[in-house]
Symmetry: C2
Subunit: 412 residues, 2 copies
């Protein structure tokens, strides 16, 4: 059998230059959130299968990696279903572990509890570009604050993280699920069709208003498609003013206004802003009111998003708590920086090349000296020296010095 | 059913203060190794089950978490053994992934390749204090250097990491597997008993020389127990000189001397040293010559260890390469710092307390101002204010300021 060289399907090895970017983004995000008193926690990658299955994971449950029972617990003679074979799963997000953590530890935590998690999650998705089966999620959550201060803070501190990473122009799009729900109901659609209507509306970016109209007609709902489309168009043209005219849920309108105005007030002089956008729907079913996404100038697709989910912590953990979360798209941000050939700021990297006969204690003592000013990698001179320098350069080294000569040179 | 609050058996939730220590240790270790040109890489937590099963994992294979096949690949009607059910496993160490990574990517890497990995590994061990089923391993490896420069560098840079974490007094114990092997053979034991003899000798710390003698007699080997014990005692008394007298494998003796002398030369003026110690055996079967452990003053048991494993990369990946590795005991180091109530140096942490009626944009603007000097957590004043301050204190906050007053106070 040929040796296995590739990582398992849908996962990735990260080379040193890629890992450097990942560590840079990770550190910037952690430090930025920590500045504002968010507290990092860690939970295991493994969770009880009952907890995961009992969560509101939707499609993610189908994509779960499950762990085979071990030892005596595994009885191969009487298997009726998958459930007999597994006792744990790999977490598919960081929200289920957060809910469990919170109910396990809340009496030790400050209230409201502002958490940071930046850790691996797993989904057995059909492999495709930019969609990994193991990926880093980067979540902040504020538990225990029912006011929209929580939304405002999540957006402001996430903007802080984006700026610290180096993103200079970005935009928040904010909505409230109750607004669209209200418009759908006002157009005569029944409650049970709301989510199906939303799935269509979520395609606004891709298929435009006419595409949406056609799809809604095809879906053949009870409900007036023309009224709904006309409402949405009014909202697209006149924003929050249109919502007031259309007499939409006042609490939701006030919520969105307050969040958008606060972010725009606090972001004065910085290159980001917030606006209401009816097309922000968010895939997951668990958001209860506010929803938001962040878009970086020059890149299509969101770089992160979140919202308020006031019922889910209780559903998972039995512990009631209002909650707002925001998740920066770690993998996406790293991909953007990789494609820009971004080099994280750090000490210059130098290779200390020595002859095979050199006394290593002297070589290392010289490396110690160089390490005051450089990242220094000592390496015996290879037979193919040009190739050695090339590989060093590809891995971030810009200078080299020959031990026997002690003259610093550029790697060309 | 009652909600699941606990993490799965043998794993742990880490509270903010614990996580802070973990992040501190992680960062110090990464930065210390990076200073000397070690390049961090990342590999997936999941690996092919064939790769893992084909590795030299010994007992670890029995302790592996295995992943159930998904979709059509899982056929519950014709199961003969576990192998029919699983296609992946969670890695039990970072060396198997390293070998695969190396054979997959070596043409893109500088030679010798000096890697850092600090990532999760998994073993389904019987849960006990200090032994977690998910744990962080922290490995450096030098691939492609057959000289003992690699050993010297691993020990020196790991000492650098220990010092940067804050450990001030520690000691390396160094041996070479070939020395003990030679003594065992010289005492007349057959080759096939070497590993069983070593298992007994590894208990020297716990049961002493008499205990070892008794156990060897009980094991009833062909071979002269008295000669072996007497050789070991000579070596314990006179160190490397005794090895020369006993005419032990000259290459091994020279190897150990060179490593020990180099480290002691380079560590002059610092509070660490290296010495030869015949009792360093190391559990894993894969080391081929040098083996070492690190002991921190005041703490029993090793804080890390490693050695040379020149055959394993080829066994796993088919790609031949000499290799030396060192692994700092991340979980152990964190445990020690936790028990010392160590607080990582950072900006002072302040809580910005505000009345529920306060205008949040003004509160956050003040938080932005405070964030120049403090880690700042803004929180609405709780009904039980004393308890709120207590929880803040337990999570690292030392000061608080009331927004309506703007006077900074200590949390008592």
């Amino acid at each position: 059998m040929e040796a296995i060289k590739q990582p398992v399907r849908g996962t990735q090895d990260f080379l040193p230059t890629e890992t450097r970017i990942r560590e840079y983004v990770r550190k910037k995000i952690l430090d930025s959130y920590a500045e504002y008193g968010f507290l990092q926690i860690k939970t295991p990658i493994l969770e009880n299968i009952e907890l995961l299955n009992g969560s509101d994971g939707g499609d993610n449950l189908r994509l779960m990696f499950k762990i085979l029972k071990r030892g005596e617990k595994l009885d191969l003679t009487s298997i009726k279903s998958e459930d007999d074979l597994v006792d744990m799963g790999l977490r598919y997000d960081l929200t289920v572990p957060l809910a469990r953590f919170y109910s396990n530890n809340c009496e030790k935590l400050p209230m409201p509890f502002k958490s940071i998690q930046i850790d691996d999650a797993f989904r057995a998705e059909r492999p495709q570009r930019g969609r990994l089966r193991q990926f880093v999620q980067c979540d902040i959550d504020i538990l225990g604050d029912a006011s929209n201060n929580a939304e405002i803070e999540c957006l402001m501190v996430s903007a802080n993280a984006m700026m610290n990473i180096g993103f200079t122009n970005f935009e928040y799009k904010v909505s409230d699920r109750r607004i669209l729900t209200d418009l759908i109901l006002k157009a005569g659609f029944p409650v049970e069709n709301i989510s199906s209507v939303c799935i269509t509306l979520d395609k606004l970016d891709k298929i435009g208003i006419d595409g949406i109209k056609n799809e809604l007609i095809q879906k053949n709902f009870v409900g007036n498609v023309d009224i709904l489309i006309s409402s949405i168009q009014k909202v697209q043209e006149n924003g929050i003013d249109a919502l007031r005219e259309l007499d939409v849920n006042k609490e939701a309108v006030s919520n969105v206004s307050k969040i958008v105005n606060a972010v725009n007030l606090l972001s004065k002089g910085k290159n980001f802003s917030a606006s209401f956008d009816i097309s922000i729907i968010r895939g997951q079913g668990y958001y209860t009111s506010s929803v938001f996404e962040i878009y970086a100038n020059g890149f299509s697709g969101a770089c992160g998003g979140g919202g308020r989910y006031d019922t889910m912590i209780e559903k998972i953990s039995g512990k009631k708590s209002p909650a707002v979360g925001f998740s920066l798209g770690f993998e996406r941000l790293c991909l953007i920086l990789n494609e820009q050939n971004f080099v994280p700021p750090q000490k210059e990297m130098i290779a200390l090349i020595f002859d095979n006969g050199a006394e290593f204690t002297s070589v290392f003592a010289y490396a110690q000296e160089l390490s005051k000013n450089y990242v220094v990698n000592s390496a015996p001179k290879a037979k193919n020296f040009n190739n050695q320098l090339l590989k060093l350069k590809e891995n971030g080294f810009t200078k080299w010095v020959y031990f026997e000569e002690k003259i610093v040179k550029e790697i060309k």
